[in-house]
């Protein structure tokens, strides 16, 4: 079954440490996205990609990098994690003129 899989599902990191969140999709979609969701708030776009080798900045890219080495994989990298990056992160894939998004189950990140 086509799906978007995120790993890890939960992560505790230390301030200043490097964190990599991974996302794999079997939908064969060109577009992939990383959003963060803070308690009581909506989804905010961090980075997105329209194909292997491409990454684009979303609305809140500061402190994050992204990598799209293949059609299936899209990573979010926090080089120097800070407590303000504690959040739930969602990956999604999408395609087509309507660009309907299919989301993973999310990664809960705590930066201490």
């Amino acid at each position: 079954e086509a799906a978007v899989t995120q790993s890890p599902r939960n992560k505790v990191a230390v301030t200043g440490g490097k964190v990599t969140l991974s996302c794999n999709q079997t939908n064969n979609h060109n577009n992939m996205y990383w959003y963060r969701q803070d308690t009581g708030h909506g989804l905010r776009l961090i980075h997105y990609s329209y194909g292997a080798g491409s990454t684009e900045k979303g609305d809140i890219p500061d402190g994050y990098k992204a990598s799209r080495p293949s059609q299936e994989n899209f990573s979010l990298i926090l080089e120097l994690a800070t407590p303000s990056q504690t959040s739930v992160y969602f990956c999604a894939s999408g395609e087509g003129c309507q660009n309907t998004l299919y989301f993973g189950a999310g990664t809960r990140l705590s930066v201490l």
Partner: protein, 110 residues
Amino acid sequence: SQWGEENLQALSIQEGEDVTMNCSYKTYTTVVQWYRQKSGKGPALIILIRSNEREKRSGRLRATLDTSSQSSSLSITGTLATDTAVYFCATGTGGYKVVFGSGTRLLVSP
């Protein structure tokens, strides 16, 4: 303010009641999508409406779109406790970027 930075709105109703949620968007879009997010899960599309449509229905769901005021609404008739979730609208701002509204937290009590 930018979408996604505002606090979630909250609605609490009884099972069987009808409910309408609204969203407004700031830039031109060709389609408005409505997503539902249940606790502990990622959002999932429930209905979409294109810019050349004024109304779209799917089961108990009804979406409307007013491109002149850049607003959309989602109505659920005969709510069930299982409709309890957070509901988001989302628009494409051109190309690949998809931006979500701040959402509405709906609690339907049995």
